[in-house]
Symmetry: C3
Subunit: 176 residues, 3 copies
Amino acid sequence: MAIQEETREAPVEEEHDHAPHKKLVIIAWSGDLDKVWPQMILATTGAAMGMQTTVFFTFWGLFSLVKDNVRITGDNWMQKMVAMMDRPGMEHLQLGKMNFAGAGPVMMKHLAKEHDVASPGELLQMAVDLGVKLVPCQMTMDLLGLKREDMIDGLGEPVGATTMLMEAQNAITLFI
Amino acid sequence: MAIQEETREAPVEEEHDHAPHKKLVIIAWSGDLDKVWPQMILATTGAAMGMQTTVFFTFWGLFSLVKDNVRITGDNWMQKMVAMMDRPGMEHLQLGKMNFAGAGPVMMKHLAKEHDVASPGELLQMAVDLGVKLVPCQMTMDLLGLKREDMIDGLGEPVGATTMLMEAQNAITLFI
Amino acid sequence: MAIQEETREAPVEEEHDHAPHKKLVIIAWSGDLDKVWPQMILATTGAAMGMQTTVFFTFWGLFSLVKDNVRITGDNWMQKMVAMMDRPGMEHLQLGKMNFAGAGPVMMKHLAKEHDVASPGELLQMAVDLGVKLVPCQMTMDLLGLKREDMIDGLGEPVGATTMLMEAQNAITLFI
């Protein structure tokens, strides 16, 4: 209680009266298929509700935005090792938890299809169509030697953590 | 919207004027034991503090709410494959990180018991008792062919992402 | 900063004038290297932006704060089993996703070094220097039999979930 008292200052509450819907900011850190689904389902749902929605793709999440035919190369042997482990592009997404013999992603996609749940690639396109801002993390791009032309179309400018945290002010912010 | 209207009861909104306690919304995505603990500990703590607390169980997290004797069946061979991998119910929760030979969960539960930390099942019951709203994700239920009677007692109506994001307005929202 | 400046376009800033920057609360649950990075990068970025920033280290995340020479011991055989699995201290952090033969962390650190991204240990020190409040979870410390003298310097008093949720009021709160 003592800690909280000294750290709270000047609550800003008056905005709630006329601006009921918050912004939605999703930090898409994971590239696993079972995390990409909630990233995209929440983003498209938020946008459909009229929320100003931004998805910031960082770390493993960035791979969702890399063109399918791009291989991460460069002089750097370490980047090559990363390249061996993760093939970019939505079609190759691994499933974090259940990936036995590679059957998991195929199974889940079929499962989704039968039940009318869109595939990650469809959700990504739907997100763009609904006006979701898809933003790649500049630092991760630098780390992996990726350039703008390696990324899929329809993305916003790459940004850093500062810009992301600015966007997160007065937003519902989820780290997925 | 209709669902959200009927499941919310006795909204306590006037507290925002003089006691700015936010709502707490936990998106319980993981079914791993080491994630179920923070899901339930934070939910019960929030409710005990007087925060209007909702836990939205989705994806792997939904398995925490499935009755222990329910097996996921159905005509669908893919659902059966899911059924093979995840036995529902709190007593079978796996531990994401340390599960060597299945000893991890047993060990952690004993560890918790000696130190007076409640078990996940106890925390789930405690959450219900404290007035935490436990809400299953409709889409995940459909995906896995689960019906209301397959789920444990004390749950709110299944809802979708839209209702969850409505609840998340002006809440502390955590994706766990 | 240079990156952030050049990539920002059409900033929507007018709200920031009378609505100060929110607090930033990071619940550092994971001890994996690829999660410690975003924990520390976001914390240091937030602090550098002038946000009042707190990182609450719990569960696996607590291991980041344990002195490198401390081994978790005690009479309890279960604590000893935990001790076998996780060697505390930033230098031994595992990488959640790609840890093949232990090469992952070494590779990523080198990758980061070549690209001027600070190491987790450096980021932890930078966080302290920038005024980030690093707070260990009391319950996790009890669970693992850890005392204040087992933890690195520069930490705040251990707290529980209640204090953390109080701090999270009117904050951007991320579970990482």
